[in-house]
């Protein structure tokens, strides 16, 4: 099932981690570090979408609801209750998981699947946006400004590189979760649910419980993303952290990179952050990057429905004729024995 041997796999993981670790040291400019932070940030929240949407097949259009819950939970605790900002990290994860539990229980109890589930999550996100707009504790439509007091104690780093390593740690953890899902019972059950719910039930999988669990896991991750976002930009308002844009971005990086794959969101996020920065630097056209994202998505869905990761896999086989030959041989053997059966 894996094209890479164990050794090659470790080499790939280790190499990637090394590149990510030294990146801000090699390119210390604020521009480049900012690029790295955003790429990793999108990779992280994209992975959170990917775990529910790609691994478990629960396509959500309103994933921002968890993101926003995390952003508000951490910011409200800090601003209204005076808690240290670091508490925001666990608090946002808990908030995201709780929202995931509520949405999961309500929609899966009602038997919502596929596009119906996608629509209900969108509805939840919009409801939360309006709610955050109208109650006092969130600062309403004015949003909340976190005063800049750069200090590690405040989860605000004087240098961007601090944020870079924080989001790198989160992203590495998210990738570790994805790798674990690929190799665990929980992940296998999620894949079964994604492929065929009736078969999964028939084999003894409690599909309701598993789906609620994955929504909580995914929600907790998106919530952490929200907390990071608030601390990095020091400002949140309902249309930013509960807006449709973020939902679309989360799903876009996964789909472009490859939904249901471990590295899909990272590949998609690096590409999207790159396109965003390049177009902003070279052209003075607002929203040009969005046009490019859209075009890219159409091209990917038409020619690489399994995402860019699939392209890398094909290139790998093309460059390694021995492995490719082995695969062809295995396929042929399979065909023969099928005919023999």
């Amino acid at each position: 099932m894996n094209a890479l041997s164990r050794g090659q796999s470790w080499l790939l993981h280790g190499g990637l981690l090394l590149v990510a670790l030294v990146f801000p040291l090699v390119f210390p400019s604020s521009f480049m570090v900012n690029f790295g932070v955003l790429a990793l940030f999108y990779a992280f929240i994209g992975q959170s979408w990917n775990i529910a949407g790609g691994f478990a097949g629960q396509l959500s259009f309103g994933h921002v609801v968890f993101f926003g819950a995390g952003a508000y939970a951490s910011t409200i605790l800090q601003m209204q209750y005076g808690l240290n900002a670091w508490w925001g990290l666990p608090a946002s994860a808990v908030a995201g998981a709780v929202v995931g539990w509520v949405i999961g229980v309500l929609s899966f109890r009602a038997g919502l699947k596929g596009s119906y589930f996608a629509l209900i999550t969108l509805a939840f996100a919009e409801t939360m946006r309006i709610l955050a707009n109208s109650v006092e504790i969130t600062g309403g439509g004015m949003g909340m400004l976190i005063p800049a007091k750069p200090s590690v104690d405040n989860l605000q780093f004087a240098e961007r590189i601090g944020f870079y390593y924080l989001i790198l740690a989160l992203t590495v953890a998210s990738i570790a979760i994805a790798v674990w899902l690929k190799h665990s019972r929980f992940g296998a059950q999620l894949a079964a649910i994604r492929e065929n719910e009736d078969s999964a039930r028939a084999l003894g999988i409690n599909i309701f419980a598993e789906k609620v669990k994955v929504m909580m896991l995914s929600g907790a991750m998106a919530g952490l993303g929200g907390c990071f976002f608030a601390q990095y930009f020091l400002y949140i308002d309902p249309s930013i952290v509960f807006g449709v844009d973020k939902s679309v971005e989360m799903l876009l990086v996964s789909m472009i990179g490859g939904a249901g794959t471990v590295y899909g969101p990272l590949v998609g996020a690096v590409l999207l952050a790159g396109i965003g920065d390049v177009t902003r630097t070279l052209f003075d056209a607002q929203g040009l990057s969005l046009v490019l994202y859209g075009t890219l998505l159409v091209v990917i869905i038409a020619f690489l429905p399994n995402g860019l990761i699939d392209l890398f896999k094909r290139l790998w086989f093309w460059r390694n004729p021995t492995t490719a030959a082995a695969k062809v041989k295995a396929t042929k053997a399979g065909v023969e024995s099928k005919e023999g059966a």
Partner: protein, 253 residues
Amino acid sequence: MLRVQGLTKIFGGLRAVDNANVEVPEGRIVALIGPNGAGKTTLFACIAGFHQANAGQVTLMGKDITGLPVHEIARLGMVRTFQITQPFAKLSVHENIAVGAYQKYPDRRHAWEHARQVAEQVGMSSLLEQPASDLTVAGRKRLELARTLATGPKLLLLDEVMAGLNPSEIVDIIEVIQKIRASGVTVLLIEHVMQAVMSLSEHIYVLSYGKIIAEGAPREVVNNPAVIEAYLGRGAAEQAHPTDAASAETSHA
């Protein structure tokens, strides 16, 4: 092992299953046959918990399982296959079977090893790395069987695992089912392929228009006039066995 009493399932105005009584003793292969649309699959779905029966009781190993969710029934050891195969299409054969095996062995190493053994048992060892979507009909039927078998069931409900197979494939799968029984698993199967039913089962129930119209040993059942009529239409029994049909007719009237 399994006892179904007075099971009734109504869809709108249709009594799909009407007061059915079925008993499957431990260690046996019992067959459920009947013409198309007789309600066999519906009866299966009610037994396995996919449909809620309108009346009746299902008891598995002395435990009342009527109305339990599908996954709980499966965990008690009664697992079904689907007539229209439902593979996890994007997963490989090994991964498909492993999903079943994980229900028996939570840790990866045991589950994957167990899945490999089950694949060998049903003759799919050479196909382990194939995506399930690439399999032939025969391959998919075997995969259904392998996946359910990997959960370590005590009772297997097989819904037409031979439909669509060619004669040599049927011979193969009959052998597989016999091996499964020999390993201590009780089997209840729905089947149209009479060759298989006759050679496999020790006891047959015949369902027609939702009712059990006959039961007994295979030889008895296929000569039963009521069964012949159910399949071939009224009057067919007399043409087939002109002498004994008349007396049977009166006893069934």
